[in-house]
Subunit: 397 residues, 2 copies
C-alpha cells in the first residue's frame, strides 16, 4: 500500500501547449515522466512502475521460449563497430572521444557486442543442437536528428533485444516463429493485442522482408495497409502504387496510421561473417552461424499504451501494467477502512495506491482519472453508510 | 529449476595470466562477466542474476526507509552540468558532441539532473514536512584514466544513488542516520557486514568529513586505520603522521587495505544553490533545500563479494546473492530424483541449478566449486543407495 501523501511528486496542468498528444501530455501532467533533453526522459516513481511492469511481461515471455537474460555494456569498442562498417556507417551512432585516446560507441544495438562475445562459446555443432536465444532489457542510445516529443521516439530509450543463433536457416525459422508467437503474447498482455498487426516491411540485407509489429494509432509515424481479405498488414514502404496483398493477392486494403512497437529480423550471416562466428559440423566443415534479432521498444510501448487507451478522462492503464491496479480515494475519516480494504486487495496480489491527501473530492477524482489506474474505489461518508465503496472502473464493469 | 545443459555459456580456464585477482579471475572463468572495453563488462546470465540479487537487497532497504525509486536519464544536458561548473570541472565526465549541435553529458552522477527536476515539486515548507528520499539503480559512466581490471573500478558500472532533500540541517541529520543504518543492513545482507567499516574520509565542500563504507580486502585500493580502542575507521587520507582517533582520541590503530563499497555525503546547499532549489517557510522567507547523497556501487559490491569470499576451491556466494542457492550435480540416471528434489527446494523459495551435463564427475564438481553456489547436492548412484544426496556446503554445515 502506497500513500499518495508520501510521494514527492504531484500532478500539474503546467505542460507546454505544444505537446498535444494526449498520451504524452497525460504522462507529463500525471508526473510519470520528465524531459531532461529532447528525446531523453526520466521516469518518476509511477512511470517507473509502469515501465517495470511492461519489462517484466516481456521478460516472462522471453524466458518462456527458453531465452537467457544477460546485460551487455552500453559502451562499445570502436573495433567492433568498425568490423561491420557501422562506426562510420550508422548515422545515429553516438561516438565518444572520437579523436581522442579511448574512442567508444554508445551502443545503438548489440549485434556488434554479442556476436564477437559468442565466438568464444560457439564453435561446434554440439553448441547449436538447439537455437540459442539471448536477450537483455537495456537502455539504448541513438543520436536521432529529430526526437519526437514524449517517449515514442527518443535518443535514449529502454529496449528489449533478443538475438538468436542457429546452425542453419531451418532452425532459425523454427525459433523465429516461437519468438513471433511470444511477441503476440506480449502485446496481448499489455493490452495492445487486438490492434497490433504483424506487418511485412522492407527487408534487411538477408531476407526479402523484415517483420514489424504495428499498433494502430492516430499519432503513429507509420502507415500500414491491412488486406481486407486475409488481414495481412503491410508497411506502406513495401506497397506499390496499387495494393496487392503479398499473402493472398487480394487488391483491397484498409489503410491506417500505426506505431511500431516491435520488429523481428532474420539477419542470416551478416554479423557472424563479420566476426567469424562459425561452427564445425559433424563432418569437420565450418559454417557461419545463422542469426536473428528481435526488438521491443519497452519505453515506446509505454508511450503507445498511454496514447492508445487515453480517454476523455485521461490516462487509462490495463491492470497488467498500471502502476497500481487499485486507487483508493479516501474522503473523510476513513483511513482504517482504507487499510483494511487495501489489505484484502493485496492479499489477492493486487497493488494499491491510497489517496489520503487532505484535498477536495473534485481535485482527487480528477487526479485519480488523470493517473489512469483502472479501478477507483471511493471511500466516503456516503459509501460508508452502505459499507460499500463506490467503484469506478475505467475499462467498464 | 535451470538446467545447465540449456545454457549457452561454459566455464573456461582460458583467462589472461595478467588477471591475478582471485575474484575477477573466478568471475571470468565461471562465465559471469566478459569485458567489452577496459572498464566495461557485460554480465552473462549467472552474473546478471548475482547483480540483480544485490540490487534487490539494496532496493528493499531503500524502500524500507521510505525512499521512492525513479529512473533518471543517462544523457544529461550541457546546461545542467555547466550550472555547477562540472561540465569542464569534472575530469571523468564523458561529453558527447562536444563541439557539435547537441552536446550532452553521459551522467557520472545525478545531482545535476535531479536537483533542477525537483525545483518543480519543492517550493513550500509543506513539501518538506518530512525529508524526501529518491533513489535509482542505474548505469553510471566515468571516463576513468585507468580502469581496474574486473568490476571493481570501471568506466561503466551499476550504482544505486539516493538523494535526500530536507528543510534544514537537523532534518538532514535524522535522514542521514536512517540511510547509514540502511547501508549497514545492506552490507550485512550481502555478507560483508563484519568486515565493512563506517569510515571517516576527507570532506566535501560542506562538511568536515565524508563517510565511506570500506570492506577489508587485500586487493583494496584504499587504506584504513581502525582505532584499537573504539573501532572507528579512518581513511588514510585524513590520518596525520601520528594516528589519533577522531572519535575517542586513542592513538593506536590497526591498518589494513580496503575497498570502498558505499559512501554518504552531506551536500548541504551546494546543488540547491546552483539550481535555485528552495522553499518558502511559514513566515514567507525563502531557504535553500538541504541535500544529502548516498551511493552504493552495486556492480563493485559484486566484485568485492567475489574477491572477499573466494577460497581455494574458488568463488563462493552467500545464499542471499548467489545466482542459485542450490546446485544439483546429477551423476548418472537420476534426473527424476533431481526434479523431485528441486521441486521441494523451490517450494521453500530456494533457487536451483541442475548440472545435467554428460560429463565426468571431476569436471562437474570443479565447475560447481568454481561457480560458487553455496550448497552442492551430489545425486549419484552411491547417494541413491542411501536415498540421501551428498551435500557439500561451501560455508560449512
Amino acid at each position: 500500500m502506497k500513500l499518495l501523501s508520501q510521494s514527492a511528486f504531484r500532478t500539474t496542468r503546467d505542460v507546454s501547449d505544444q505537446i498535444t498528444d494526449r498520451g504524452t501530455r497525460g504522462l507529463l501532467q500525471a508526473g510519470y515522466i520528465r524531459q531532461e533533453i529532447a528525446g531523453a526522459y526520466s521516469f518518476l516513481p509511477m512511470g517507473l512502475r509502469t515501465l517495470t511492469n511492461i519489462a517484466n511481461i516481456v521478460r516472462e515471455e522471453m524466458n518462456a521460449i527458453g531465452a537467457e537474460e544477460l546485460l551487455l555494456t552500453a559502451l562499445g569498442s570502436k573495433e567492433h563497430w568498425t568490423a561491420t562498417g557501422r562506426w562510420d556507417g550508422l548515422d545515429v551512432l553516438f561516438r565518444l572521444n572520437e579523436d581522442g585516446e579511448r574512442p567508444y560507441a554508445l551502443n545503438a544495438s548489440h549485434e556488434e557486442i554479442l556476436t564477437p562475445l559468442l565466438a568464444e562459446f560457439i564453435n561446434s555443432y554440439r553448441h547449436l543442437e538447439q537455437t540459442i536465444g539471448l536477450y537483455q532489457i537495456q537502455t539504448k542510445f541513438r543520436n536521432e536528428p529529430r526526437a519526437k516529443s514524449g517517449i515514442l521516439r527518443g535518443r535514449e530509450f529502454l529496449m528489449k533485444d533478443l538475438y538468436s543463433f542457429s546452425r542453419d536457416q531451418a532452425a532459425l525459422d523454427v525459433f523465429f516463429e516461437e519468438a513471433r508467437k511470444a511477441y503476440v503474447r506480449v502485446f496481448d498482455r499489455i493490452g495492445l493485442g487486438e490492434k497490433t498487426h504483424y506487418t511485412f516491411a522492407s527487408g534487411g540485407t538477408f531476407s526479402k522482408y523484415s517483420y514489424e509489429f504495428q499498433t494502430e494509432l492516430e499519432i503513429g509515424e507509420d502507415i500500414i495497409h491491412i488486406c481486407e481479405n486475409c488481414g495481412q498488414s503491410h508497411n506502406e514502404e513495401i506497397v506499390e502504387k496499387n495494393f496487392k496483398c503479398v499473402e493472398c493477392g487480394h487488391e483491397k486494403a484498409r489503410t491506417t496510421k500505426a506505431s511500431e512497437v516491435g520488429n523481428i529480423f532474420k539477419l542470416g550471416t551478416k554479423f557472424s561473417d563479420a566476426f567469424s562466428l562459425k561452427y564445425r559440423d559433424e563432418t569437420g566443415m565450418d559454417h557461419p552461424v545463422v542469426m536473428g534479432c528481435y526488438g521491443i521498444g519497452v519505453s515506446r510501448c509505454m508511450g503507445v499504451v498511454a496514447e492508445f487507451f487515453a480517454d476523455e478522462r485521461w490516462l487509462r492503464f490495463p491492470e497488467s501494467i498500471a502502476p497500481y491496479t487499485d486507487y483508493l480515494l479516501v474522503q473523510g475519516d476513513h483511513m482504517d477502512w482504507a487499510k483494511s480494504l487495501a489489505g484484502n486487495l493485496e492479499a489477492e496480489w493486487r497493488s494499491v495506491l491510497v489517496d489520503d491527501r487532505d484535498a477536495r473530492f473534485g481535485e482527487k477524482i480528477a487526479d485519480a482519472e488523470l493517473f489512469g489506474m483502472p479501478n477507483i474505489y471511493i471511500l466516503s461518508d456516503t459509501a460508508k453508510a452502505s459499507d460499500m465503496p463506490e467503484v469506478r472502473r475505467r475499462f467498464g464493469a
